[in-house]
């Protein structure tokens, strides 16, 4: 009895620093942001209480609507497209084809390069005057193409999404690590039963890696909700506000010293993100397999 109590106290003491840090750096700021969102405040004069007025203004704001919609696009693009591609690459590499170690490193390499450098690289590739993409398309078409990929309403958002989805290394490594722990005997048995490679992946790898995939998708969707850097660096939210996201809108509101607005966006970002991700997780939750 005493031993159990000691263990409980010990566990609590061990967790205490972490709990205190969590309260100090997440719970308290979150509550403060929610509180601030009820005021009109520029940061250096007296705040005026406006209740839920900031939220009402935001819901009527076209830029907010566009930004929220784009965040959903990012959530789905990263959660499904990026993780999907990463899983595909991981499944292939797990079969250890020739050069798999090299390919694994190549896929992961962009992860260690600065996001700023990558954004600038793609900005150059997409440039209408001297970009590589237009040069290649011009060569194929046989006439000069000077399309402004990041400056046109139809292509700006897809252009940023594509360059981001393309970098699958992080999730590929996670899925790959999970896939390589599946016992070989499962595949050997399936092979003896005449299962094709596709069937082996479909009925062995996919179910066995399900938990890892769902975790990866959750992480990717969380990144999608808080998406900021590539859009900030490549388009600044333009053309117009067509590629804006909530994080960027919040950043601009802070710079405009509209702190109440910014806090309301932050609160909604957390609320929308939490709801969206929990809903998708619930939908994806299914039968898991013990190894």
């Amino acid at each position: 009895m005493i031993g159990k109590r000691r263990e409980t106290i010990g566990n609590t003491l061990m967790l205490l620093p972490l709990i205190l840090l969590f309260i100090a750096f997440f719970i308290y700021p979150l509550l403060y942001v929610i509180y601030t969102s009820l005021f009109e405040w520029n940061g250096f004069t007296r705040p005026d209480f406006v209740g839920i007025g900031n939220y009402g203004n935001l819901f009527r704001n076209v830029v907010f609507q566009t930004s929220a919609r784009n965040n959903v696009v990012w959530v789905f693009s990263l959660g499904f497209l990026q993780v999907g591609l990463a899983a595909l690459a991981a499944f292939i590499l797990a079969r250890k084809p020739k050069g798999w170690r090299f390919l694994r490193t190549v896929y992961f390499l962009p992860r260690v390069i600065s996001a700023v450098a990558i954004a600038l690289l793609w900005q150059t590739i997409y440039n209408a005057e001297y970009g590589a993409l237009n040069a290649i398309l011009s060569r194929i078409a046989g006439y000069p193409i000077r399309h402004n990929w990041l400056g046109s309403y139809g292509t700006a958002l897809p252009a940023i999404v594509v360059q981001q989805v393309f970098y699958i290394g992080y999730f590929m490594i996670i899925v790959f690590a999970s896939t390589t722990t599946i016992p070989r005997s499962y595949y050997e048995a399936a092979e003896m039963d005449g299962a094709t490679t596709f069937q082996q992946e479909r009925y062995i790898t996919l179910p066995m890696a399900r938990n890892t995939l769902v975790t990866s998708m959750t992480l990717a969707m969380a990144y999608g909700m808080r998406h900021f850097e590539p859009t900030f660096l490549m388009t600044g939210g333009g053309p117009g506000h067509s590629t804006s996201v909530l994080g960027l809108m919040m950043y601009k509101r802070i710079a405009q010293t509209k702190l109440g607005d910014a806090a309301a966006i932050g609160t909604l970002l957390v609320a929308i993100g939490f709801t969206l991700i929990m809903t998708i997780r619930r939908l994806l939750r299914g039968e898991t397999y013990e190894r």
């Binding site: 250096f44 117009g240 710079a255």
Partner: protein
């Protein structure tokens, strides 16, 4: 034994940390460290000379004051950082900021250091009192104008000669003709941009057009005034029919000026601070560059867009030694010889007055800037100095939509007015 050792170690650790945790100030014998998030770094034309001046200042004040430059090479990021830090109540020790409607709002709080008493006592005598008067609100001065500018039109005389254009166009109608001649020899007429945090070059053109159509008092009127509508309508045409580069929508200042410096475009608008940049990075283009007032779009001709570009500011503090150190450093930068060094190196026009010694020559283009400024019929305002950041943030996106045909010029200006 091990338990006691742990307790002793823990106690030592806590005792070591306590003085730091509760330290509220700096012992009198310690040096004052001034952190300066600085935009004049990297490729900026002022970078080398400012670094030298700071090094010299630190050497002169070794042990008592040390200025630490925190490099901030990106203008857009710098602006956002400064505003965010001011809004969060913790501005940097010393910094530069732009003069706009938001800057005026800072005067309402005590976040910024108040220079009024020192100025009354004769501090920074080289800075023209006229420019200080412009930064005085209700008798107080909390930012100190340091860099002024006009932004005339820059053009490549060599390309103009090749296209058979003798003079820079005096009116907008003549300008469209000039554009056609330039395009006929395969040159894109102008550099435009809608990206960055202020669509700078395009915003300069807009300011020129508004000043010419509406005159010096136009900026006190609502944006729905016909002068702004007409200016927006003309501005739209700069983006049509190959009058600017294909990447103008979303382009940043680097892209826009890069086209001019590469000789891809023949005309753009910028200020004197750009002289040092073009002189060192594109000497061939620099040598054939001339400047001119903007073509007249309305009844007001010969004006220039003139403004306080950069002002010094500092975090308010109750620490007398820190305050004295910051005032001393600003005073050092405002010395005529130091202002001269920065001005001659970069081409910038500064508020401290200085005289050239025998054998010292001003950059010819910089001299042209001064001549244009002094001969201007009036110094009109620049769009972003008249509005808060929230309105400025709508300018570039609004131009995007205007050019794409999603909104009309009337809707463009109405949107600006709505945000204001």
């Amino acid at each position: 034994m091990q338990k006691w050792r742990s307790i002793v170690l823990f106690t030592v650790l806590v005792l070591a940390l306590v003085p730091h945790a509760f330290a509220s100030g700096r012992a009198d014998s310690e040096e004052v460290v001034i952190h300066w998030p600085c935009i004049w770094v990297g490729a900026d034309a002022k970078a080398a000379v400012v670094a030298d001046l700071v090094d010299a200042y630190n050497a002169e004040n070794a042990g008592s004051i040390r200025v630490v430059i925190e490099e901030m090479p990106d203008y857009a990021v710098y602006d956002r950082k400064i505003v965010a830090e001011i809004a969060s109540g913790s501005p940097p020790d010393f910094f530069t900021l732009k003069w706009n409607a938001d800057t005026r709002a800072y005067y309402e709080s005590d976040i910024l250091m108040d220079f009024t008493d020192e100025l009354a006592a004769g501090w920074v005598p080289a800075i023209s009192r006229e420019s200080i008067a412009q930064a005085t609100i209700d008798g107080r001065v909390k930012v100190l104008p340091y860099e002024t500018a006009i932004t005339p039109i820059w053009y490549n005389t060599e390309i103009f000669d090749q296209a058979g254009i003798a003079d820079f166009p005096a009116t907008i109608d003549e300008m469209w003709g000039t554009f056609e001649k330039l395009k006929s020899i395969g040159v894109i007429p102008t550099s435009q941009m809608t990206g960055g945090n202020n669509a700078f070059t395009t915003q300069m053109w807009f300011s020129h057009l508004v000043n010419s159509i509406g005159g010096p008092d136009i900026w006190s009127k609502p944006f729905t005034d016909p002068a702004f509508v007409e200016a927006a309508s003309i501005l739209k045409q700069f983006f049509e029919n190959g009058n600017t580069t294909a990447d103008a929508i979303g382009a940043t200042a680097g892209v826009s000026s890069g086209h001019y410096m590469a000789g891809r475009t023949a005309i753009f608008s910028n200020g004197p601070w750009f002289i040092g940049n073009i002189r060192s990075n594109a000497p061939d283009i620099y040598s054939v560059t001339a400047i001119s007032p903007a073509p007249a779009a309305g009844p007001y001709t010969g004006s220039q867009v003139g403004f306080t570009l950069t002002a010094f500011a500092a975090a308010n503090t109750n620490d007398a030694a820190r305050r004295a150190a910051i005032l001393d450093f600003i005073g050092y930068l405002a010395l005529p010889e130091n202002a001269k060094a920065i001005s001659l190196e970069s081409g910038s026009l500064l508020t401290p007055e200085f005289t050239l010694d025998a054998g010292e020559n001003m950059d010819p283009l910089q001299a042209e800037f001064i001549k244009l400024r002094d001969s201007a019929t009036f110094l009109g305002r620049r769009f972003d100095t008249t509005v808060p950041v929230s309105v400025l943030d709508e300018f570039g996106p609004g131009i995007d939509e205007l050019v794409a045909g999603r909104i009309s010029p009337e809707e463009f200006v109405a949107r600006l007015e709505a945000v204001r």
